[in-house]
């Protein structure tokens, strides 16, 4: 795989973020004074330019995927400026700014637990495991909003095969980096750091489960989980761990961060399910960019995973 580092904008040429923001305030000020009409959309265009300047490494040789939806893709600006990434901030608009200088190289991923042999892989060697695919997935947050994103990656199964798990590996556990120096949100115990998520082995091996390192034709934005994250499109967004540094194969169902924080609201499975009301009513969702709520689909519309749960009570196993 080739990651072309063309389109290199010297960092000196990228307008510092605070100047954007000041410009925004300035324009808003003009607005109050009743001067030139310049409003929301124009400002949004200005901000979208900024987002593109940060994630400047295009990924070439993308394969199309039969899993992709043809639904309208959510603008990149929304996906990069509306992030639940508590390691940086509990404010959704915070991570875009706070993750700006997050270091994604060098980056190693430890493979341990029930495997033939403990491994440590460099991120760039992981990226060569398989050809990058673009997968346009629906992404549903447990808070009731959704987006459609062209993620880039390949099936997690490609990594799992190479990790050579043993027969005791019933679950796969993902650990996010713990680095309070770089991640100001980790300086407070909002959640029990580091962030841990997990999947059952068959869920992890499902071809839809994506090991993701890019979006919108480019490298993953830092605020969206760079350099390596998970995308499990039929589960609520929080199951898709970001900035992964460790993948462990374990025998017993691990405790995961959100279900530890609030076991009543957030279960281990957390499949998108309009019939299970825990944290919120989940029968409707708001697609970012749309005004009217739309009905939420079982498994977020990914019916092909239903077989993974046949015979299971999904109200009990929420």
């Amino acid at each position: 795989m080739l990651i072309k580092k063309d389109n290199e904008v010297p960092s000196s040429e990228i307008t510092p973020r605070n100047i954007y923001l000041n410009r925004r305030k300035f324009l808003a000020g003009l607005g109050i004074a009743g001067a030139a009409a310049t409003g929301g959309l124009g400002l949004r265009r200005a901000l979208s330019g900024a987002a593109q300047a940060f994630a400047d490494a295009k990924i070439s040789g993308l394969q199309k995927s039969p899993f992709s939806t043809t639904e309208k893709i959510t603008p990149m600006t929304d996906v990069t400026h509306y992030n639940n990434y508590y390691e940086f901030s509990t404010d959704k608009e915070g991570p875009a700014e706070l993750a700006k200088n997050f270091k994604t190289r060098p980056w190693n991923v430890t493979i341990d637990g029930a495997v033939q042999k403990k491994l440590k892989w460099d991120i760039d060697s992981i990226l060569k495991f398989s050809a990058p695919e673009e997968r346009i997935y629906r992404h549903r947050c447990v808070e009731g909003w959704s987006i459609v994103v062209p993620w880039i990656g390949f099936s997690l199964s490609e990594l799992i095969k190479r990790a050579q798990p043993t027969s005791k590996a019933n679950f796969v556990q993902f650990t996010t980096i713990y680095d309070p120096g770089q991640m100001p949100g980790q300086q407070r115990q909002v959640l029990d750091w580091p962030y841990v998520e997990a999947l059952r082995m068959d869920e992890a091996m499902h071809p839809l489960t994506l090991l993701c390192f890019g979006m919108y034709g480019e490298n993953l934005a830092n605020q969206d989980g760079a350099p390596l994250r998970l995308i499990v499109p039929w589960k609520y967004g929080f199951k898709s761990a970001k900035a992964i540094v460790k993948i462990s194969f374990v025998e017993h169902q691990p405790e995961t961060t959100w279900s530890k924080a609030n076991p009543h609201d957030f279960g281990f499975y957390s499949n998108v399910n309009p019939n299970v009301e825990r944290y919120h009513s989940q029968s409707y969702e708001r697609r970012l960019g749309e005004f009217r709520p739309r009905p939420t689909l079982m498994f977020n519309g990914y019916d092909q995973v239903a077989g993974l749960y046949s015979g299971m009570d999904l109200v009990k196993n929420y």
């Binding site: 808003a28 607005g31 109050i32 009409a37 310049t38 409003g39 929301g40 959309l41 124009g42 400002l43 949004r44 600006t77 929304d78 996906v79 400026h81 509306y82 508590y86 509990t90 959704k92 608009e93 808070e143 909003w145 407070r188 909002v190 959640l191 924080a261 609030n262 609201d265 009301e277 944290y279 919120h280 009513s281 029968s283 409707y284 708001r286 970012l288 005004f291 009217r292 709520p293």
Partner: protein, 220 residues
Amino acid sequence: MIRITKIFIFIAALVPFGLLLWRFFGAAPFDMTTWGAGLGANPIEKITHVTGDWTLRFLLITLAITPLRKLLNIPSLIKFRRMLGLFAFFYASSHFLTYIWLDKFFNLHEILADVAKRKFITIGFTGFLLLIPLAVTSTAGWIRRLGGKRWQALHRLIYVAAIAGVIHYLWLVKADIRRPVQYGILLGILLLYRVAMWLIPSFQKRRSMTAPHKVTAVSQ
């Protein structure tokens, strides 16, 4: 002077609402496709949060009037209390309307299920309901009709409404309780002041000497 200050407060209190409208309609108010663009990725959530925040702020400001006028010895502050309280109601109504209209699109089934099942909605809704009689009886006519004592007793509901509002916020956040706790601490201080005034006889004496509530009730 009071009149000018009142006008100033009135305009200042509308600024958060005006900013919301400005950012919502943006440059092209007649082009529906651009609506909300200035409020970020999820404009409806933003409107809900901003109106909710300002409801709590105005409730706290309203509750701060009595302690401030005594501690700073500016009895005329009372002249602004009704307006501030009504602004708390105004933002609460905007918050409520955002929820039933923009968030739920009048889906009554969903709304009722929400009120019944989600305790943060139940308590928020309760707090809003409690503010309605206070807004209705905020006029001089109603003070006269009810009599100062009864009117004052009724308006103590604001304590309950404010507590409900803070709990509503506390219960709705997923993990980061810092902001609701900050509101809770401020509210706690304002309510403790009242408890102290009620418990400490020397304060009681001072209160009866200045008799603020009765004076206003009559003068209005």
